[in-house]
Structures are given as C-alpha cells and as structure tokens.
Amino acid sequence: MPKLTINGQEIEVEPGTTIIQAAQVAGIEIPHYCYHPDLPVDGNCRMCLVEVERMPKLAISCATLATEGMVVHTNNDRVKESVRGVLEFLLVNHPVDCPVCDQAGECRLQDYYMVYGLHTSEIPLEMKVRKQKVVDLGPMVVLDQERCVLCSRCIRFFDHVTHTGEMQFFGRGDHVAIGTFENRPLDNPYSGNVVDICPVGALTSRDFRFKCRVWFLNSTDSVCGGCSTGCSMRIDHRDGTVFRLLPRRNPEVNKSWLCDEGRMSFHELAAGERVRRPMIKGRDGMQAPVVWEEAVRSVDSKLKEIRDNHGAGSILGFASPSATNEALFLFKQYMAGQVGVTRFEFRADSEDKSVTEQEDNILRRVDKHPNSMGAIKLGLVSKEFGGIEGAIESAREGKLRAGVIIYFKPLVRRPTDEEAESRVAELIRAVEYSVVLAAHKTDWLAEASVVLPVTAWSEENGSYTNYQGRVQLARRAVTPAGDMRPVWQVFALLLAVSGADISWSTAADVFESLTETEPAYRGITYDEARLPGALVADI
C-alpha cells in the first residue's frame, strides 16, 4: 500500500492507483479533460500535469502510478503556470459560442477558466480555425466540431464500452475534428452517454437542445424506472417539468452510463392523460368522482364483504413491479394483514420472464420494470395459481370475485406491452369488483369498479430493488396536478380505515417499518440506500 504526499498531505492508496485517483481520495481536485474513471487512460489533454519531486519534467497525473515516498505538488507556481498555458491553448481555437452553447453553466472550459485562467485572449477571432457546426450525428446527439477539445472521451467510449467504434478523429494538427466514419448516423442505443462525458459543448443532446439553461434546473437523485437494472440517475427539472435525466456514477450497477431508452423514459410520463381524482362506479354503471375518504371506506368495506361472503381466496392482490418497495410493503400489510388475501400476482407479461436476464451485454435487461425483485423479495407471488392467465380463468369460473390491481404502464416500451396490458384489462372485466390504482388513463379504466389516482415514478419518494437485490432510493422530483396520492399512502389510508395502528407520515417512515418487518430487508438504513445502494439478504 504505497504512501505518498500530495500538497503536504500524506495518504495511503491501493497499489495501481494513479496520482489523480490518489488526489481524489485526498479530496484534492486536479483539473482534467480526457481522464474519466470508467474509460481507459489517454493522456492527451495535458491538463492534469503535476510536479513530482525528482522528475525533471511535469508528469501527467492520470497516467503516473503513485509510488511509495512520492512527493507531488498540484498547486505550486510551476503547475499553475502549466495549467494556465494548456487552458490558453485550448481556448485559442475555441469558438466564442457561450451564449448559444447548451453546455454553458456546466462546461469544464468555463469552470477551469474562472479558477485557473482569467487571462485575456491574444488571438484575433479571424485567426481561429473553422470547422463544421451543428452536425446531426444521430437521433440523440448534435456535434459542433469547433468546440471540441479533442479529448477522445467519445471515441474511447465507443471503442471500449459499447465496442462499436463509431467515432474517430479525422485530419491532422489543429484541423483534427471528430466525426463518424463516412458520416454514418450514430444509431447506437447508448449514444446519449457521449453527451454526458463530453466536457465541452461539442456533443450536445438533441432532445435537451435549447430547452432550458442548466442553472435554472434542480437536480434530484433517483433510480431509472425503465428496467430491472435500476441505473442510478438524477432528474433535472424546473417548476414541475422534467427536462432531462443524467446518470449518477454507481460502480456497482451502471458505472457512469445510461441507455438511451432509460434517458428518454421521462417522456412517457408526459404522454397521455392522467387520472386525477378517485372514481367509484355507481349503480348506473358510470364512474363518478368522490373524495378520498369515501373511496377508501367504500373499498375497505366492500373487500371485507366479499371476503366474508366468499372467502379470502376470492380476492386477488395484483401488484405492479413498477411500484416502490414502500408501496408493495403496505399493499401486502393491508391485503394480507387486514383483508386476509393469500393470492398475489405481479406479472402481466410472460410469466417466466427473468428479472436478471440481459437484453444486451452492457446495461439493459429484458424485464422492463424497476421493482420486480422487490415484489419477489416481499413474497408477492403465489406460483400455484397459474399467473394472470390463471387468475382470468378463475374469475371467469366465478371463483375469483375481486381484485386490487396496481397498474403502471412501462416507461420503456416493447412490442409485448400491448398484450400485457390487455391481460390486465381482461382481468378487470372478468372480476365482479375491481379496485385499480393507476397513474395514466387507459381505455379500459372506465370498466373498473373503483379507480384511485396515484403518483408515478419521479413523483414520489420511494425505493426500488434492482436485479442484484440492491435497494436504491428514488426521490420525488415533480408533483403532478391533481388529487393523486403515492401508492403507499393509499394503503396507509386503507390500513387506517381498517383499524390498524399506523404512524407513518413519510415514505422514510414506511421504509423503516419495512426494514424492521421484512427479513430480506432487515438492517438496511436509509443512508445505506443512497449511492451505491444496499443489497438485500439472499432469501
């Protein structure tokens, strides 16, 4: 374990650590462009030069291994002069695009200039090298060759992460520009990541282009609701509108990457109408809006009536694998604990779909729901009833009379979704009494006996359990207009009405209860469930 001194601070690091990583451990920031913790080292920007005692020339800290007894200086005059020099060189041919560039506010050139530069430009505008601007590289990415600092992060991403090698340098000297081979379009399902890793505004997002200046945005930590991988991400939003999703670095789950579908998944939420008020179907067969109190009481009494008359086996609890752990926990507490239901399901698509099966060998998984593992760990599946098909048949035979269904439409679409949704619709039609908790209006929702409006992903605090069994927190970013409640709150109300002793006021309280009650989740704290998330017990 080599010990080295950086700026007078002595630290011990693992063998094989480079100086820049060691500095990070010590809390010292070394400016850099081409270095990225999840990409191979390239050492071409020359920004991370530091002084290492007994080395005649400055060394690049991203490629120099920390050795025992090394003494490093990152902020003495010689290093500061060198950083300022490299910055001045980078800005020599850089276009004065800040007013129109989307990267403004989160641009490494701007940030480093304010700290290390603050020099006056000594090159007239006419002398700057001109290259192509506003090049459509693909559906997700816009390229501006003039802004590029040629750090090669995008090239290394496509070479070493997706192994597709779409981007390359063309030309020589100060006319080098990045681009795709033969200007072919970039249709890689991970192309959005180069927008994140580009330190300047050369690669920008087509979807986010010009929508909002970044300093107006608020960031909320969350987890992707697209598939069971559960990539850590953050939601950037302003005044109730989500503008973009960015990855958070989680070495255990998604490193620094997101797939394009997950990145665009927030558009699904805005598409389609929302259910805004609780509705109960009256004697005339038409749904009428009611207040929550009335809806909840009606549901509780009706469910218990059916249970008393036909037995607990005539009620089905159909959870959604997109609901949060807290929601599923209280769902179980109410349905099993208060009503006595024993029959649970959560899969509307194919029954044998694996939670862990990969769709490609990078991030995506076949199961397009974020919390299937949560439903499994909480025991919300009873295999002996033949899945949803069995439930529908059972309902047609008259054995199944009621169903409480939580339904969220998937944020990442696949051709099989329609079929899955139609099965849920059939189930609702088949039973006598159906309570549906939904966020978006569907054409079959009018046939349910009771409709309870709920908040969807990004609109509530909660946690999800990914395919690894890792619990991660997703925080609320936006609040939709209407009388929706988080799913967990609906069941808290039902529990209260049913006479249970409850004391939860926030999702965090429910989480605490969950970790105390459920054996798989025992011992996990809220703090642990932030980055990188905590693993549940193997049960």
Binding site: D97, C98, P99, V100, A104, Q132, K133, V134, R209, F210, R213, W215, F216
Partner: protein, 221 residues
C-alpha cells in the same frame, strides 16, 4: 460699580424714528428678492417649469427607459436567446423561448421574447448582461396601456419604435453602437431650443428641448 441699564421706551422711539418713506419702502426693501423673482418669472426671463407634454425634460445619454431589441442587417433580432438577461433580471420579468436558427453561425434565436413592463424595475442589468448588444434601453418613459395584456411587450413591440427619434437612445454600455442596429431608420432628431430660457435647475440638462404639438401630430397622420 454696577451700571444701571438704560431704560428705553420703544413706543417713543418708534414714534421718533418713523417716517412715511420708511413705512412704504421698508416692506418693499425686505421683499426685494421676492419681487425680483416675481418680475423675472412674469417676464419669462426665468422659467423653471417644464410644460409637459409640450416640453419634455431631456434625459442623459445613459437614461434607462423602455427597452429596445436591436436588429441585424436583415432586420431579424440580434438576440441569440442566451438567457443572460433573464438570469440577471432582479424582477424576473423576461420570458424567452428559444428556437433553432437555420444559419449554423447564428444557431439560436428567440421565438418569443417578452418583457413584463409592469414587473420591470428599469435597472438596466439586462443591458449589462447581454453579450450581443441585443437589448438596449431608450429614453422613452411614456409607456401606458389600456389593459394589462398590453403591458407585456413582445419582440415586435420591442423592436419597432417609430416614436424613437423623439426620445432618443438611452442606456447602452458600448458607446460605439451604431444607429443602423435599430429596426428602422430614425428620422432626424427634432431639436428645438427655446430662445432666452435659462434654467435654475442645474442638475437638469435642458438642451435639447423636444417639443411636441399634439394637434400638429394628429394633422400629420
């Protein structure tokens, strides 16, 4: 030795010193300043009153009045929707919606640019913040409306200002701004100097006066 005070009978003294001349001229002497001023005012030698709207106060070169969006040679707004003004505005009164400009060298332009003139505090931060000299202010202060809807000024209202020659350009940090950046060709500034007028208000520059005869103007139209 203690001096005994002299006793004066003021009534007696008054009677002794009084005269008709003193009775008449005394008040006049005391009111010399007042009467002088009265004469000056009446003859028009001194005229501190600005008879608005026929006469208007001349504002300084950097007066912060109503905003103007400057134009390129082809008449389109110079603004690139960078949001510096909207961010700098302390009253949060600028609303911009950006659009993609077909020319890659310009790239961005505002499809909507609105200033809520009722929220605006005319601080001029927007002009300071603008990197493109796209927004400046004029010396126009007469911005009234018949309803609240009219108080939100869009791009058209901010660019086309036929009445501008009367008021003149105001706050712009860069003095080399050329008139060609306006969305119209300004007429020659109307300058009229009222002869023989002297002002007592040194803090106000009375030159140039601008006169505006409402009857004459309506005849022109």
């Amino acid at each position: 030795m203690k001096k005994t005070p002299k006793v004066v009978n003021v009534a007696d003294r008054a009677r002794e010193e009084a005269s008709v001349a003193k009775e008449i001229l005394g008040p006049l002497v005391g009111m010399k300043l007042t009467l002088t001023r009265m004469v000056e005012n009446m003859t028009g030698k001194v005229d501190p009153t600005i008879r608005y709207p026929e006469e208007r106060r001349a504002y300084s070169d950097r007066y912060r009045g109503a905003h103007i969006l400057t134009a390129r040679e082809d008449g389109s707004p110079r603004c690139v929707a960078c949001y510096m003004c909207a961010t700098a505005c302390p009253a949060d009164c600028i609303y911009i919606e950006p659009g993609e400009h077909p020319d890659p060298l310009i790239e961005k332009y505002p499809t909507r640019f609105e200033i809520d003139m009722l929220r605006c505090v005319f601080c001029g931060f927007c002009v300071d913040a603008c990197p493109e000299e796209a927004i400046i202010m004029s010396r126009e202060t007469e911005i009234c409306a018949f309803g609240r809807g009219e108080t939100i000024w869009g791009i058209d209202r901010l660019m086309k200002r036929p009445e501008l020659p009367e008021f003149g350009l105001g706050y712009r940090p860069n003095k080399e701004l050329v008139d060609s950046r306006l969305a119209f060709v300004p007429k020659e500034k109307v300058q009229k100097r009222l002869a023989g007028r002297v002002t007592m208000k040194e803090d106000v520059e009375m030159i140039p006066h601008v006169t505006f005869d409402p009857l004459k103007e309506s005849e022109k139209r």
